[in-house]
C-alpha cells in the first residue's frame, strides 16, 4: 500500500469507509466510499455526520469522480475528501481543484513529481471547488 497524501490539519478518520448503500442504511457511519456510478447527491442530506468521503478511481481515465467531488464541496461538505485507486501524478492538480484534499494512490508516487504537479499552474481559468481566483476575476478586480 502506498503512502496516503493528506493536505488537512485534522486527525484522519480511524475506521474504514462503507459503501454508499451501507452508509444510507446505518446511522452511525462517518466514512463512506463513492464508486464512479454512485450519485454523490444521495449523501447530501447526511453531510453533517460525514468526516471522510473516499472517491474511488478504478481507472484514472474515468472522470466521474471529479464531478462527485465538486458536487460535495458545492453542497458545503468540509470533511476529508480522498481520491483512492488509480490516482496518478498527472491528475493530482485537477483533483485538488475539484476539492480533493487527500490522495491514496494504488502505486507510490514520487514526491518530487507530486510537488511539481501542485506547483505547475501559475493561474487558473475557471472557478472550481478550491479557493483559487480565476484569471477573469483578476482581470476585472
Amino acid at each position: 500500500m502506498a503512502e496516503t497524501l493528506r493536505y488537512r490539519d485534522d486527525e484522519p478518520v480511524d475506521h474504514p469507509a462503507v459503501t454508499v448503500d451501507s452508509f444510507l442504511d446505518q446511522s452511525n457511519a462517518s466514512a463512506v466510499r463513492i464508486e464512479p456510478g454512485d450519485d454523490a447527491r444521495a449523501l447530501l442530506p447526511h453531510l453533517e455526520r460525514l468526516a471522510l468521503v473516499e472517491v474511488n478511481f478504478p481507472a484514472f481515465g474515468d472522470g466521474r469522480g471529479y464531478s462527485s467531488a465538486r458536487i460535495l464541496r458545492e453542497a458545503g461538505y468540509d470533511g476529508e475528501l480522498r481520491a483512492v485507486g488509480d490516482v496518478l501524478v498527472d491528475q493530482l492538480a485537477y483533483m485538488r481543484r475539484c476539492g480533493f484534499d487527500a490522495f491514496e494512490p494504488d502505486q507510490q508516487l514520487d514526491m518530487d513529481d507530486v510537488d511539481a504537479a501542485f506547483a505547475r499552474w501559475p493561474e487558473v481559468y475557471q472557478t472550481a471547488a478550491d479557493a483559487r481566483t480565476p484569471i477573469w476575476a483578476k482581470r476585472h478586480a
Binding site: Y66, A93, P122, Y125
Partner: protein
C-alpha cells in the same frame, strides 16, 4: 483578433513545461504508454501508422501572418515541409518525433499558439464560422463567445476525463457555415425580439458511426449565463455519459437514450444549482474579449467594379470570392484543392505566401475553413487581380470553391491507424476526372466528402455526395451516400446500396451526377434535385 495577455501567456508556457516533464518521465519509463497516452493526446500528439502526428489548434480558425509563418517554420524544421489543414480548423503535421514535440509546443507558444486539447477525451478546440466578422448576415461576430469558451474549457479540472471527445462550434447567423448541428454542442448566437443577444444551445449532434443532428435544448440562454449553462451540459454528460462502450460514449448517445426532453430537464436542474456557484465570468470579460474583434479600418469608397477582361481571373472571382458586409470588399477563398492534389495540404512555401498576402491584402488576417481551405476575410475588390495573380503563380489559384473538386477528405489509410481504406487517392481521381471532362463547371455547388472509415472524419454523412471507405475481406471498398448537408438545411446522407472498388466509385460518382444533369430543374443544386426526386432514380442508374 484576440491577443494573449500575461495570464494567457503564462498558462500556455506552463503547459509547455508540463508536457516537457511528462515526455521526460515517459522516456525515463516512469509513465507507461497507457498512462502517457491521454496526456500526449491532450497536447495534440497522436501515434499514427508511420510516426507521431501533431495537431495544432487554430482557435475558431483565425490566425495572423506571424502565426502562419510560424506554422511554415515548424513544417520545415520538424516535419517534411508541409502541413495538413483539417475539418476542425486545425493543422496537422504527420512526421513528428516525440523527442521534439515539447520544442514544437514552445515554438508555438512564442506566437500565442498551442496544441492544447486538440485530442483526447476532453473539450476540443472550438470551431466557428470562417466568415465571422466579414459576413453580412451575422447578428454578431461569434468569435468572442468562442474565445470565452476556449478559456473556460482550457485545463478544465472537472471535464478533462470525459467519456469521450467533446466538440463545440459557435456561429452567429442563420446560415450555418460551421456544421454547427453536427457538434456535441452547437451554439448559435441569436437576437430576441427585444434586440438582446443570447445563445441557442443545440446538444447531441455528431458524425462518427452513429450520426445524429443535435436538437435545440434551449433557444435563448442569456449571455451572462453562457459559461454556467455550458458547465451544466458538460456535468450531466460527465456523470451519465456511457463509459462501458467507446462507440456509445459520445453525448449524442446519452441525449438519444435519455431523450432530448429528459436530458434538458437534467441540464436545467444542474444549471439552477450552478447559478449560485459563481462560475460565470462577468460580462465585462466578454466585453474585454470583444474589443479584440472590432472591425479593421475599412476604406470607404473603394471601387465596387472589377475588371473582368481576363476570363481565368473572372472565373476565380465568381467561384472563390463571397460577398462582404463592407462595400468594396469581399472574402477571398484560397483553394487547397488543386486538381489531383491532397485536400487541405499546403507546403511551407505556400503557407508563407498566404501569410504575406494576408498582410498585404487582408488586414493581416487569415481563416481556416472546415472545408480545408483558407480564407482572406477582408480583401478590397481593387486588390483581387494582384492577389489572384500571386496565388495562381504558386498553384493556389484553383477556381473550385464548393464545386465537386472542393472535396473534404480525411487522411485515410495513407496515414491513419484507424482507417480501413485510402481517402486521398479517391479524392485525387475524382477531381481529375471532373476537371478532365469539364463537368465541374456545369454541376454547380456539389459538396463531396470522403471518409476512410466509419469514424467519419471526412464528414461523409454530411456530403451532398458522401463516400465511405470500408474493408471488405481485406480489399478496400467504397460505399456511396447521397443527400447529406452540414449547413442550415442539415440532413444525413443515405447509402445507395452495395459498394464499389477504387475505380468503380469514381464511375459511380459520375453516374449520379449524370442523373442530376438529366433531372434538374431551374436553379436546383444536386442536393435539391435529390431531395425532390428521391433515391430511386440514382439507384436505377447505379445498379439497374
Amino acid at each position: 483578433m484576440y491577443k494573449y495577455d500575461s495570464y494567457d501567456q503564462a498558462m500556455v508556457d506552463a503547459r509547455v513545461e508540463e508536457f516537457r516533464d511528462q515526455a521526460r518521465r515517459r522516456l525515463e519509463g516512469k509513465l507507461t504508454e497507457d498512462q502517457f497516452k491521454p496526456l500526449r493526446l491532450m497536447n495534440g500528439l497522436y501515434l499514427q501508422l508511420h510516426a507521431y502526428m501533431l495537431r495544432v489548434a487554430i482557435p475558431y480558425g483565425t490566425l495572423d501572418s506571424r502565426q502562419m509563418h510560424a506554422l511554415a517554420d515548424i513544417a520545415e524544421k520538424y516535419d517534411r515541409g508541409y502541413g495538413h489543414f483539417t475539418t476542425r480548423q486545425n493543422i496537422q503535421y504527420n512526421w513528428i518525433r516525440l523527442e521534439e514535440a515539447a520544442d514544437i509546443l514552445a515554438d508555438l507558444a512564442k506566437v500565442e499558439m498551442h496544441a492544447i486539447q486538440t485530442s483526447g477525451n476532453c473539450i476540443r478546440n472550438i470551431s466557428s464560422d470562417h466568415f465571422a466578422g466579414a459576413a453580412a448576415d451575422e447578428v454578431a461576430d461569434p468569435r468572442p463567445y468562442a474565445e470565452l469558451l476556449r478559456q473556460w474549457s482550457s485545463f478544465h479540472p472537472e471535464f478533462s476525463y470525459l467519456p469521450r471527445k467533446f466538440k463545440i462550434a459557435v456561429i452567429a447567423s442563420d446560415t450555418d457555415r460551421a456544421a454547427m448541428r453536427l457538434h456535441d454542442i452547437g451554439i448559435q448566437i441569436v437576437q430576441n425580439e427585444a434586440g438582446e443577444l443570447g445563445a441557442a444551445f443545440y446538444v447531441g449532434g455528431g458524425m462518427g458511426r452513429t450520426p445524429m443532428i443535435a436538437p435545440c435544448i434551449n433557444s435563448f440562454v442569456p449571455l451572462d449565463q453562457l459559461v454556467t449553462y455550458s458547465e451544466a451540459c458538460l456535468r450531466v454528460y460527465n456523470r451519465y455519459g456511457r463509459r462501458d462502450n467507446k462507440y456509445k460514449a459520445r453525448i449524442k448517445i446519452l441525449v438519444h437514450e435519455l431523450g432530448a426532453e429528459e436530458y434538458t430537464r437534467q441540464v436545467e436542474e444542474e444549471f439552477a444549482h450552478l447559478l449560485d456557484q459563481g462560475v460565470e465570468p462577468p460580462l465585462a470579460e466578454l466585453e474585454r474579449i470583444k474589443a479584440y474583434f472590432e472591425d479593421p479600418l475599412f476604406e470607404a469608397g473603394t471601387p465596387e467594379t472589377i475588371d473582368r477582361s481576363d476570363p481565368d481571373f473572372a472565373l476565380w472571382v465568381d467561384r472563390n470570392t463571397v460577398p462582404h458586409k463592407e462595400a468594396g470588399y469581399v472574402a477571398a477563398v484560397i483553394s487547397l484543392k488543386p486538381v489531383g492534389g491532397i485536400p487541405g495540404d499546403a507546403t511551407a512555401e505556400q503557407m508563407r505566401l498566404m501569410a504575406d498576402l494576408a498582410k498585404d491584402y487582408s488586414f493581416d488576417e487569415l481563416r481556416v475553413m472546415h472545408t480545408q481551405n483558407v480564407v482572406l476575410p477582408h480583401v478590397r475588390k481593387a486588390d483581387l487581380h494582384a492577389l489572384w495573380t500571386a496565388l495562381d503563380e504558386a498553384g493556389l489559384g484553383s477556381p473550385n470553391l464548393d464545386t465537386i473538386e472542393d472535396i473534404i477528405a480525411c487522411p485515410g489509410l495513407d496515414y491513419c491507424s484507424l482507417a480501413n481504406a485510402r481517402s486521398i487517392p479517391i479524392a485525387q481521381k475524382i477531381s481529375e476526372r471532373f476537371a478532365e471532362t469539364g463537368k465541374t463547371a456545369t454541376l454547380g455547388q456539389l459538396k463531396l466528402k470522403i471518409s476512410g472509415c466509419i469514424n467519419a472524419c471526412g464528414h461523409h454523412h454530411a456530403g451532398h455526395i458522401g463516400i465511405l471507405g470500408v474493408d471488405r475481406k481485406g480489399v478496400e471498398n467504397y460505399q456511396l451516400l447521397l443527400g447529406g448537408s452540414e449547413a442550415e438545411d442539415v440532413s444525413l446522407a443515405k447509402i445507395t446500396g452495395p459498394g464499389f472498388d477504387e475505380n468503380g466509385i469514381v464511375d459511380a460518382v459520375e453516374t449520379v451526377t449524370s442523373v442530376y444533369e438529366r433531372e434538374r430543374q431551374d436553379g436546383e443544386r444536386f442536393l435539391d434535385t435529390y431531395r425532390r426526386i428521391g433515391m430511386n432514380p440514382f439507384k436505377e442508374a447505379l445498379y439497374g
